[in-house]
Each structure stands twice: as structure tokens, then as C-alpha cells.
């Protein structure tokens, strides 16, 4: 008989420290591997893994504008695999796994310019609230 696939995505990356600084505007993530990233709150917010942003599939994914001044208000551990970030725009449903934080750090330049391009195409801006 055939079985459904059993995928075992164990965390490849493990952070040593998460440091929230600049009044909640910057999350510094230091990984055990020695790599460290500085992730702005705005970047984390618009890349939130929450279904509110990602939808249920690539077609449903939303581009958020107007988050230039967003700040992180809470960093809560979730099990041993992730943190839940709360933002001051009351978005609290994003659970960021270690691997996702690593991906956001390692591909920051690429993902950020992609985001800026999406804003441009959809007629949104970093300063004006709106989503598409």
C-alpha cells in the first residue's frame, strides 16, 4: 500500500540569541552557526508567515503597504522551534520558526527588493496603509 509522505523538517538552524533593539524597530538574531542578522520590524511584518499575510497558497498572498513605522512589541517563545512576534499594529499571529528567521536573514536583500517591486507594481507604498 502507499503511504502519505512523512516529511521531517527538523530545524537546521538554531538561534543563540534574539535581541530586540531600537525601541522594537530591529530584531537582531544570532545563530549558533555564527551567522547573525539584523531584521527590521517592517521587513518582518510584511513577511509575516501568518495566514493573514500568506493566505492559504501563493495566489492568496498579500502585499502590505504602510508599515514603515511598525514596531515589535513582543517576542514570545513558541515551543522550542519558533517565536511569536507581536507588532504595534496589533498583528500577533505570525509564528517565525528558526529556519524561517534564518531564511529571512540570509535572503534579506533579495526578498526586500522583491517586496519593494511588488509595492510599485500594485500601486502601494511603504507610507500609505493598504494591501493588495
Amino acid at each position: 500500500m502507499t503511504y502519505p509522505p512523512c516529511h521531517t523538517p527538523k530545524a537546521q538552524q538554531w538561534p543563540r540569541e534574539l535581541r530586540l533593539s531600537a525601541g522594537g524597530k530591529l530584531l537582531k538574531v544570532a545563530f549558533e552557526s555564527g551567522r547573525g542578522f539584523e531584521l527590521p520590524a517592517e521587513y518582518l511584518r510584511v513577511m509575516s508567515p501568518s495566514a493573514e499575510v500568506q493566505g492559504h497558497g501563493p495566489q492568496e498572498r498579500k502585499t502590505l503597504g504602510g508599515k514603515r513605522n511598525v514596531a515589535i512589541t513582543g517576542v514570545e517563545p513558541v515551543g522550542s522551534y519558533a517565536v511569536r512576534l507581536s507588532f504595534d499594529d496589533l498583528h500577533t499571529t505570525g509564528i517565525y520558526t528558526w529556519d524561517y528567521l534564518y531564511e529571512l536573514g540570509a535572503r534579506q536583500t533579495e526578498k526586500w527588493s522583491q517586496y519593494l517591486a511588488e509595492l510599485e507594481t500594485k500601486g502601494l507604498s511603504r507610507d500609505r496603509p493598504g494591501e493588495k
Binding site: 523538517p9 534574539l18 522594537g24
Partner: protein
């Protein structure tokens, strides 16, 4: 029926929170409701004043009661934060992160199964007693909200006592025991909604006076739902033991269980094959009722340890239902030996691999 105007007029005789301004002029009257001859009045005051204003509340109650056509009066003080000037959003300081560790408990492991009826609770109890037999201080927590069975399996009854707002766990055979079943009536159906599950899980972990434990064994509800996820998210689990029968049907679900624990980074300590085979008590012939070896096979395929097999035996079933788990009631039996062996493998894994330290969270 009394009118609101009459009530306001009567309340003019009562001094407001400052001790002189008539109450209706202070803006403290948050609501007046008249139902027949009953009057409900709510007065909104600053939280820190609430205790001092009991006299004002009584005076208001008496003033309204003196009105004609008024039977009963209920005046309540509602403490409200001052509505003026809500703090600007930007200045709200980040909340400090809470800890996921449960004080006093060195490690928490979950005993889970993909489907019900595979003997998960019996395995959990005997595993806990096996670990206690190896010298560990052990607690067992029955979180099977759909069918809590610990009270029966350990033959313990009654409501746990509450001392200094902490629930005292019951004790049986040297292990501390707590079950969601102690809080419920055996005959009552239980309808659990998501948030209730989360609340119950939190309470069972943090409001119970477990004391110092080397290991807390959690008997999970079958499946991959809210309770499992809540536990995995709110506690740093040291590992999970998956119980399955060798039957394909059960193994498919067991695989889902393993996948779920993998997803939330909880190490799978291994798979136990329960009801592995049946030896007829009369003729001694062995029958592989659910086929045999399926769980071992599956464990190998998925790369998780195989912890052992426990036969389907009348003794285990009878002793379990009688509240005398086979590890303690028949310690020399092959069944007890099977459980002890499983416990030893679990203990070795837990001692060998300390829980990976959670990252430090610093809020500047």
C-alpha cells in the same frame, strides 16, 4: 414604573466621588436600567477609588430604594481605567517574554498515538512506573480530554485538594498523578472547544504542585489536534513516545503523529508496538492479530528508534482495569519486563540528550 428622571433626581442627594458634587453631575453614572420594580445602576469609578467609594454606592442604593414603585435596587461600581488620554501606541514597552520551563520539572515527555484504542494510556502508566522503578521521581499527567483514564488505571478517586491556590496531585505507586478526569463527572459528555483545551492544559501544567520531578509523563489525547499543539507550543517537550498497534490503519495515523512532533521540533523518542501479538492462555499458540512487526518496520523507515513490543495479554488488560498496573502488580512477568525495557530506553535517550537550550530573548 419609576422613571429615569426620578432616579436621577433622587441621586442628586448623593455626593459623588469627590464628596460634594451631586452624583448625576460627576459623570459617574454609567448606566441605569429599570425592569418592572427593579433598578440596576452602574457607577463608573477609577479603579484605585473603588474600595473607598463603597459608602457612596450604599447611599445611592438607599436613595433609589426610597422612591415609590421601586422594589429591588442593585448598584454596582465598575472600575474603569480613566478614559482620557490613552497611552500613545508607540510608547508601549515591549512585554517581557514568558518562560516555557515549568519550575521543578526537569523534563516533560508526551505519550501520543495517532488514533485511539491502541493502549496509549496503559503504556503511559506503565512507562511512568517503569521510570520510577529506575529511580526517577516521576509524575503522570492525563491530558486525554476525550477519555481520561488515569483515575481508573491507577485506582485513584476523588477531587484533588487545593492548598494555597495550588492543586495537589494525587499519588499512586510512588508517582504523582493528575488527570483532567478528576475535574469531570464520569457520566458527563465533555465538549471541548479549542480555547478551553488550551486553558486546561495550561492549568494542569502550571497550577498543579508537582514539586521536584525528574520526568513528567503526559498522556495525550489521541490525534493531532489542539491539545497536542498547545502542549508543544507552551512547553519545551523533551520528547514524545508514539504508541501504535502493528495494524496498517493505526500506523498511518502514528506517522501523522510523528510528523506533527517533527514539525514542532519535538524529538521523537521512539515507537512502541502495542498489542504486538497474542498468546492464547489456553493452548499457548501465538496469533498475530493485528499482524506483527509493523511498528518496528515503520520506525526503521522513518528513522526513529523502536522502543519495544508489548503483547496483547489478558493479564495486562485485567490488571489495568483493576487499577493495578502490571509493572507493579506482576513485576516478574514478561509484560512488566517489556515495559521496564521500554522505560530504560526512554531514560537513556533523555539522559543522553539534554533539551537543546532555547535561545535567549533580550528586550533592550
Amino acid at each position: 414604573m419609576v422613571s429615569e428622571q426620578d432616579i436621577y433626581a433622587a441621586l442628586r442627594a448623593v455626593a459623588g466621588p469627590d464628596g460634594k458634587t451631586p452624583l448625576p453631575e460627576t459623570g459617574a453614572i454609567a448606566g441605569v436600567t429599570v425592569r418592572g420594580d427593579k433598578v440596576y445602576l452602574s457607577l463608573s469609578v477609577a479603579p484605585e477609588q473603588a474600595a473607598a467609594l463603597e459608602g457612596m454606592r450604599l447611599a445611592a442604593e438607599q436613595a433609589v430604594r426610597r422612591l415609590p414603585d421601586v422594589g429591588a435596587v442593585l448598584v454596582s461600581l465598575t472600575a474603569q481605567k480613566p478614559a482620557a488620554a490613552p497611552p500613545p501606541r508607540q510608547s508601549r514597552p515591549p512585554t517581557p517574554p514568558r518562560s516555557l520551563a515549568v519550575p521543578g520539572i526537569a523534563r516533560i515527555i508526551a505519550v501520543a498515538s495517532g488514533k485511539g484504542g491502541v493502549g496509549k494510556s496503559t503504556t503511559a502508566v506503565n512507562l511512568a512506573l517503569g521510570l520510577a522503578g529506575l529511580g526517577w521521581r516521576v509524575g503522570i499527567l492525563d491530558l486525554d480530554i476525550y477519555g481520561p483514564s488515569l483515575p481508573r488505571l491507577l485506582h485513584i478517586h476523588g477531587q484533588p485538594e487545593v492548598v494555597e491556590r495550588r492543586i495537589q496531585p494525587l499519588e499512586a505507586f510512588g508517582v504523582k498523578a493528575m488527570s483532567i478526569g478528576f475535574m469531570l463527572d464520569e457520566e458527563e459528555p465533555v465538549i471541548w472547544r479549542g480555547p478551553m483545551v488550551m486553558g486546561a492544559v495550561q492549568q494542569m501544567l502550571r497550577d498543579v504542585a508537582w514539586g521536584e520531578l525528574d520526568c513528567l509523563v503526559v498522556d495525550m489525547p489521541p490525534g493531532t489536534g489542539d491539545a497536542q499543539l498547545t502542549l508543544a507550543q507552551n512547553v519545551a517537550l523533551a520528547g514524545a513516545v508514539i504508541v501504535s498497534t502493528p495494524q496498517d490503519l493505526a500506523l498511518i495515523d502514528a506517522r501523522r503523529g510523528i510528523a506533527m512532533f517533527n514539525k514542532v521540533n519535538v524529538p521523537v523518542l521512539g515507537v512502541v508496538e502495542n498489542m504486538s501479538y497474542f498468546v492464547c492462555p489456553h493452548c499457548g499458540e501465538r496469533s498475530d492479530i493485528f499482524a506483527h512487526g509493523g511498528a518496528r518496520h515503520e520506525a526503521e523507515r522513518l528513522g526513529v528508534p523502536f522502543l519495544g513490543e508489548v503483547p496483547l495479554a489478558l493479564t495486562i488488560r485485567e490488571q489495568s482495569d483493576a487499577g493495578a498496573p502490571v509493572v507493579v502488580s506482576e513485576p516478574d512477568s514478561v509484560y512488566a519486563a517489556a515495559y521496564r525495557d521500554i522505560a530504560a530506553k526512554v531514560q537513556a535517550q533523555l539522559e543522553g540528550a539534554p533539551v537543546r537550550a532555547a535561545p535567549k530573548i533580550v528586550i533592550e
